[in-house]
Symmetry: C2
Subunit: 401 residues, 2 copies
């Protein structure tokens, strides 16, 4: 990215909460924390100081199918960032004492999330729609599984999943590809990873199409929290990340609940003043996805707003979208795509996911063409399918026990 | 910013919650919402569609001393953004029906904020430290003031404060200064603002040095919320935005609670595992500021964590910082400053605030020099002063009524 002084680099490990087996629930996220707690060459403080001293940001995120360790630094600090992050990925110690201390930190993180009622609504929605499928579990585990998980399980998880065949390194910004390849190769070799043999990447998630455990009926769930607002999430399964209808889904989502001019925003917020926040969302994984609608409203209005959400979903299926809406949402997605390319962080993510999820990087022109090829009929067909699927409803708010 | 396709432009109006008088509390934020609800030339839907159709983002934020309407769009869409935002600033209708609907939206926004216990802790902390001073009030008003405020009051507030002498327009990205000046002049003139006469900018906030209403003693407050975590905020008044010691405060803040290597993060999270989130913060306004420490922890640990926070503040005053800490935090601030210049949004904010708050724009080199000139003694002197001020403590969590 000519002109940028920053680089964002990310080490993507192809392991997420989906890959956890019994006795390991929450291990992936636990591991993410522990990688910052020290390696054979560095203490936790060494890692923290390395990035703070140069004003860089280093962080990590755990998903259902991947874990990403990333840093945004000035170009001159990239060798340091590559060295430290590679060290964490290859040579974490998972020292017993540090692990016990970090268990407390993670329990506080879970408690913080549990204090966010919209977070709770989304977690419970995913669990309702995906049921016992491994994608249905909360990414961070639960207080019970975190309290129970022993170091051995985390260590086993680390040794099994953190290997050359699951790692993708992506970077964007003021960076040269050749120099980065050299830096990464050197750093991983120092960490004891042998890269000179032909390592076949592990099979991509797109191969995992089993929907075992996904319930065939919807669930309706009311969860009591003594708060001011009711948080409503309603929806169903959606599309897999690689589904070719994902561009139609993007258009559908933009029209239904993707901006200030979207139907949900207009009907629920602008016309009726019933909510401050309302939107629709879609999340795609290997073989499976979720699709839903959200609103936060006064508890006394929860039935009215739930009905409005359902009405908008069903109206999309029965009446489709207008060509004006199609054009506007294509403009929205195209503009957003181009605007999203200027930041080294989002560009790095785009690269990492392209490699990890799709195995190919669409050019901007190709992506724009796929967005522009979506038709009114594609969107309605998809709406009919989604509106016909088993639908779950989760409401979190002051509804008593 | 050569190479960027995006532009972020912001219209900064020099009015915030601080300027509200009795009967107008919450009007500034109410007004911010209403500007999106239609002008003499545009409906709310016209405004929403204009930005959505090009994939732009348009939003606004209300602060204690300013209100900013901003848009991030592709360079070719800048004339549209300038036209729409200028129209909103000059020619909002504040139509009665729209106002009543929006009252409901704002009440939901307040309810959402009230459901965030860390938000509540910060609001109550500011109120505790600044007391009856106009900066102590919550920006959005309260449900009571929002329910009570009549259209006349909002209209009066609008007519009084939205005028040439309070407006600053800033933009950054793929933009030419001369073209922008032309576009803004044309758009404001269409909106009926006469710009050909010599308009003197309204006096800057730095002139407002009165601390009337700020309590001379600290307050200790426990607020019951039936949540999982205790949220602790502790601190005092801080520095005014224009105080020349603000660079020393930045260093102090970085050392105390500004990153993974900071004292709070190390002592409370890394060594003891007592919190997931802990940091220190400083907020500067015209004539006054606040300074505080935050942690979220298990309710059973609230006394222990409160003590640790106080200990770290007092240790900073009694023992100062090391030269290693000074160097690291200077590196952190300098790197962060340069990294923060790449994004058109943060660059636009820097420009807008420079004009509105300081009346001058420091070059990056000048800012770096001021950061690098901070000494260990400057930081300790400041710590002694801050630690000696009346201290307030707010705790929000499951503590019963």
């Amino acid at each position: 990215m000519p002109g940028l002084r920053s680089v964002t680099m990310g080490a993507w490990v192809g392991v997420g909460s989906r890959d956890e087996t019994d006795g390991h629930f929450g291990s992936t996220h636990f591991l993410e924390h522990l990688l910052f707690k020290g390696t054979t060459r560095r203490t936790a403080m060494d890692i923290a100081e390395a990035f703070d001293a140069v004003g860089g940001e280093a962080n990590a995120s755990t998903g259902k199918e991947h874990t990403c360790y990333y840093a945004r630094v000035l170009d001159t600090d990239l060798p340091m960032a590559v060295d430290v992050i590679s060290d964490m990925v290859t040579s974490a110690r998972l020292e017993e004492g540090e692990l016990e201390t970090e268990r407390g930190v993670i329990l506080e993180e879970l408690a913080m999330n549990d204090d966010d009622p919209s977070d709770v609504a989304h977690e419970e929605f995913t669990a309702a729609v995906l049921g016992k499928h491994p994608l249905g579990r909360p990414i961070g585990g639960t207080p019970e599984t975190i309290k129970a998980v022993p170091r051995d399980a985390v260590w086993e998880h680390y040794r099994w999943h953190y290997r050359p065949e699951t790692l993708v390194v992506a970077a964007a910004g003021g960076v040269s590809h050749e120099e980065l390849v050299d830096q990464v190769s050197t750093a991983l070799t120092i960490g004891g990873w042998s890269l000179d043999e032909a390592v076949a990447p592990r099979e991509r998630r797109s191969g995992e199409a089993s929907s075992d455990g996904v319930p065939s009926v919807g669930v309706s769930l009311t969860i009591h929290r003594p708060v001011e607002q009711a948080n409503i999430v309603i929806g169903s399964t959606g599309l897999a990340a690689t589904d070719e209808r994902r561009f139609a889904l993007s258009v559908l989502n933009a029209v239904l609940g993707g901006g200030m001019s979207s139907r949900l925003f207009q009907e629920i917020r602008e016309k009726r003043g019933l909510a401050y926040t309302t939107y629709s969302f879609a999340s795609g994984h290997g073989g499976l996805g979720t699709f839903g609608l959200y609103a936060g409203c006064a508890p006394a209005r929860v039935d009215q707003v739930t009905e409005l959400l359902i009405e908008e979903l069903e109206r999309l299926a029965s009446d489709g979208i207008t060509s004006t809406e199609l054009d506007r949402s294509i403009g929205q997605l195209a503009g957003g795509l181009v605007l999203g390319l200027e930041d080294s962080g989002s560009r790095m993510s785009r690269l990492g996911k392209a490699e990890l999820v799709y195995g190919e990087l669409l050019s901007v022109a190709e992506s724009l063409e796929l967005i522009r090829s979506v038709t009114v009929a594609d969107v309605q067909d998809l709406a009919v399918e989604l509106a016909g699927r088993p639908r779950s409803l989760v409401r979190v708010g002051p509804f008593g026990d």
